[in-house]
Subunit: 353 residues, 2 copies
């Protein structure tokens, strides 16, 4: 029980140690003024709401105080932490995989939606029904071990670039959001991704991009089966949907994985509505925030009519409930993390820092 | 970038600070000799294997070294961290719930397996088929919100006692295993429960008993549905199996929840076999351990023929593969954490500490 206590065995040692500590306290340089934790956020209602919330729930001895272990923050990924336009990053991956795998699948030349992918027929692709979308995911995301798939994902990220920004996807984390993640973690929060995207597609890059380890990434999944291959254990990805982590699936997954109701939730589309409702439905002070894509120049401008990342019902709900709505154009000083090495091509939205 | 650096602004301050630190180094009491991290373990092969493994994977600069973030340890619960005899703790809970709910279910008097429960007919109960077992779980574990169920579980644990030891179940964590959990955590491991038991049955007590927070408890689950009750969001437990976290389900759940292959796995029955195979199948040094219940006096003695916690195939595999087999009678100095307050009744296995 007493293992962690340190006793002073000799009086003179204690006296000297006390003197030393006292001198150190007097002579050490004064602490610097608290640096702005959100330098890429313009001053305004959104930034104030975030810092006021964090100050409140971390103020020990006040009614809003929440113990460290219960400080859970959940973030959607597509459109909240990185772009989802012109198409989801994971869809870009799937399309590239179709091209890569096409030589082994001559039948795809006469089979939708593969035919449309191979011919670059985006109009047909955009109209693909749910079965077609599932076929596309299964053909490109399953039939290998989990470690083989992680390798495929990493290899793709190493070379793929965003079609407009001409930068690696891994350099397209929203700078204000990575600051927010770091700020919350520095304030004792555990940060999670809770995304409709594939859990095994995000995990290989989430730690480097967002500082979020694999065990704090929650997403949609395919069925995975344990099997022995030549007597060696393997986990193989089967062509079947296991869980869709979107809409009402998000609070369900939060409960299943975390087992605590979040204090704060961050999203950008109708797919995040139930997660924000679940978060704000808890007792005590909560924070719900929507990123509203209003910046067609630096990023994209879309909401109620967008096929990707539609923000309609959740926008109405946010206005009615007083959730924080981030106006990307007005609230964000910069959008993307600056890229360490220029890629040679024009980078229309390179931020000045 | 330089925010974390502290500069000495004045020469005399630096000089004084350096002197102070030097004196402190010379005068501070010498560090105590490393205390035994596993005092309830007798010296022997099992204890040596554990400490040698931990020393190896934490020795920076050696081939066996593993970075802190990849140090994942997974523990079965029933029979590994607490007793599973004479019946699973969760089954005791279910039986008590049947008695509690019986007044609202007069039909149970003529319906198996409820009739057997109400009449205390353990022979019929022991022969219940899978459908009967599922009926029992669904009738007692579903139909309420997740928070209501957590309340029911906590209330049960507050009063229920083990039939033989006459102590609250929460006081029946195996002392050597809680020491092992603490030792691994102190060595940079993240510790998880991966149990066939219900995830929502374990979470309300796992933090207090084992120091394991809800987000590190993985188990079997029932289907949970998000819904609005009077406009307020709720998660309701539905009478359907969602996932069975046993046998081949364990490595699948480990991948789904954690996304990393464990370095160390601890179990006690055939239900843990695949988890131990998956763990030891990874590259580099790994640890697999089975608790063998050999102590009928202080706890229970059972293995190949037991209906609860059968240890047969996994015992053969452990012997063939050289996994660590803990002989509870020989390897454990004490079995249970000593209870802070005596419960008045005889406690046959109260440990001397």
């Amino acid at each position: 029980m007493n293992r962690s206590r340190r006793h002073c065995d000799f009086g003179w040692r204690c006296a000297l140690a006390a003197t030393v500590l006292l001198l150190w306290g007097v002579l050490a340089p004064p602490a610097r003024a608290q640096a702005d934790p959100l330098p890429s956020w313009n001053e305004g209602a959104a930034k104030r709401a975030i810092t006021a919330f964090v100050a409140a729930v971390t103020a020990d001895g006040t009614p809003d105080y929440v113990p460290r272990e219960e400080r859970i923050a959940v973030f959607d990924n597509d459109g909240t932490l990185w772009p989802e336009q012109p198409i989801y990053v994971q869809l870009a991956f799937a399309l590239d995989r179709v091209h890569d795998l096409a030589p082994q699948h001559p039948e795809w030349r006469q089979q939708q939606p593969f035919e449309a992918v191979l011919e670059g027929d985006m109009k047909t692709l955009a109209a693909v029904d749910e079965k077609g979308a599932v076929d596309l995911v299964m053909a490109t995301h399953t039939g290998m071990t989990v470690s083989a798939f992680a390798g495929i994902v990493k290899a793709w990220f190493a070379t793929a670039r965003h079609p407009r920004f001409k930068r690696p996807y891994q350099s397209l984390a929203y700078q204000p959001m990575t600051e927010l993640l770091a700020y919350l973690r520095a304030s004792g929060f555990k940060t999670y991704i809770v995304s409709g995207g594939g859990i095994d597609f995000m995990r290989p890059v989430a730690e480097a991009m967002y500082g979020i380890p694999p065990e704090q990434v929650i997403g949609s999944s395919v069925r995975t089966v344990f099997t022995l291959v030549d007597g060696r254990p393997a986990l193989v990805r089967d062509p079947a949907v296991d869980f869709v982590d979107d809409n009402a699936g998000k609070p369900v997954a939060i409960e299943r994985f975390i087992g605590r109701r979040p204090l704060a939730a961050f999203g950008n589309s109708d797919g995040d509505l139930e997660m924000l409702q679940w978060t704000t439905g808890g007792a005590g002070r909560r924070l719900a925030l929507l990123v509203h894509h209003t910046d067609g120049e630096r990023e994209y401008a879309y909401d109620r009519d967008s096929a990707t990342g539609r923000l309609d019902k959740a926008l109405d709900m946010a206005q009615a409930e007083g959730w924080v709505i981030v106006d990307m154009k007005a609230d964000w000083k910069s959008v993307f993390t600056s890229e360490p090495a220029a890629s040679g091509s024009t980078v229309p939205n390179r931020e000045r820092r």
